[in-house]
């Protein structure tokens, strides 16, 4: 490759390989689970995860000033936007290849969370995941999803109610 092309590509390489590896090790698993839960397809989750980190690598200047937590929210924002783009493009065949975990090491193992997720809208799945799994508050969710903070509050309330309707603990039925 000509040296001018190498030079043109140089600014994008601000994030060193080691720093990227560290960032990836810290965040990849949680973002991958998020993508799996919302898209319910392993192939899509793998692809969108790669695309999420690719975008981060290709636009290092926009993330240079972010701290670790902000960077994490930024990654979730990219992932959420990619999920929505995919949804808008019409490629929405959810649960075609459902990510079905084999072990549930708690008493809640009979609660069919997959059925619940299947019946929720993608946005509800996003909000519930960010709130309950990632432990984000309304402000953080609004930053991670691009929604208004007050809207997050209302939408999360509705999503939570829908989820509760679909989830029935086995203990309650015994």
């Amino acid at each position: 490759m000509p040296s001018s092309l190498e030079h043109a590509a140089a600014p994008a390489a601000v994030l060193s390989e080691l720093a990227f590896q560290r960032l990836y090790d810290t965040n990849a698993t949680s973002i991958h689970s998020y993508l799996l839960a919302v898209s319910a397809r392993r192939d899509v989750a793998d692809d969108l995860l790669q695309e999420t980190f690719c975008r981060l690598l290709l636009h290092p200047k926009s993330t240079a000033h972010l701290d670790t937590l902000e960077l994490r929210r930024y990654l979730f924002r990219i992932a959420t936007n990619l999920l929505r783009d995919r949804h808008r493009s019409g490629d929405t065949t959810p649960f075609a290849d459902p990510p079905e975990p084999t072990t549930h090491p708690s008493l809640d193992n009979t609660i069919d969370i997959r059925t619940m997720l299947q019946h929720l809208k993608p946005r509800d799945r996003e909000l519930l995941w960010l709130a309950y799994v990632e432990g984000m508050d309304h402000t953080e969710i609004s930053q991670a999803t691009g929604l208004n903070r007050l809207s997050v509050r209302t939408l999360l309330f509705r999503a939570r109610n829908k989820a509760k309707q679909f989830l029935t603990p086995a203990r309650a039925s015994l």
Binding site: M1, P2, S4, L5, E6, A8, A9, A12, A13, E17, F20, Q21, Y24, A28, T29, S30, I31, H32, S33, L36, A37, R42, A45, D46, L49, Q50, F53, C54, L57, L58, P99, E100, P101, T102, T103, H104, P105, S106, D108, N109, I111, D112, I113, R114, T115, H119, L128, W129, Y132, V133, R160, A163, K164, Q165, F166, L167, T168, P169, A172, S173
Partner: protein, 123 residues
């Protein structure tokens, strides 16, 4: 409730927030254990490939602009020559103007051909 029920179950009490959180986290832990993300090297490779493609596109952009300009110039030159040499409006053209016209057209066409050759991807 069976896994394929479409409607909520109104007879059983709904879980509270803590239960919901626990359910989600258990599911997340199981998902993480079951499905590992692709290796970081795959992403680095993908980013590097895309970066190189973008760099090539950036480098080729002036060439593409010049190529378009060249084609447009050639078309205009041809149109102008046709207009000048059309039989019905064929004014007498002195030798200097004719030589200049031919030289300009040749240069433009040669430039276009060179750029087309240069922009062709190497095998």
């Amino acid at each position: 409730m069976t896994p394929h029920d479409q409607s909520p179950n109104p007879t059983n009490p709904a879980p509270n927030d803590d239960q919901l959180r626990r359910v989600f986290r258990t599911y997340a832990a199981a998902l993480s254990a079951e499905h590992t993300p692709p290796p970081a090297t795959a992403i680095l490779f993908r980013a590097e490939r895309r970066r190189r493609r973008a760099a090539i596109q950036r480098a080729e952009r002036p060439l593409l602009i010049m190529q378009t300009l060249g084609v447009l110039s050639a078309v205009f030159a041809a149109a102008w020559l046709l207009y000048r040499f059309a039989p019905h409006t064929f004014p007498t053209l002195n030798s200097t103007t004719l030589a200049l016209s031919i030289a300009c057209t040749t240069l433009v066409l040669a430039g276009c051909w060179t750029m087309l050759r240069a922009s062709r991807p190497s095998a």
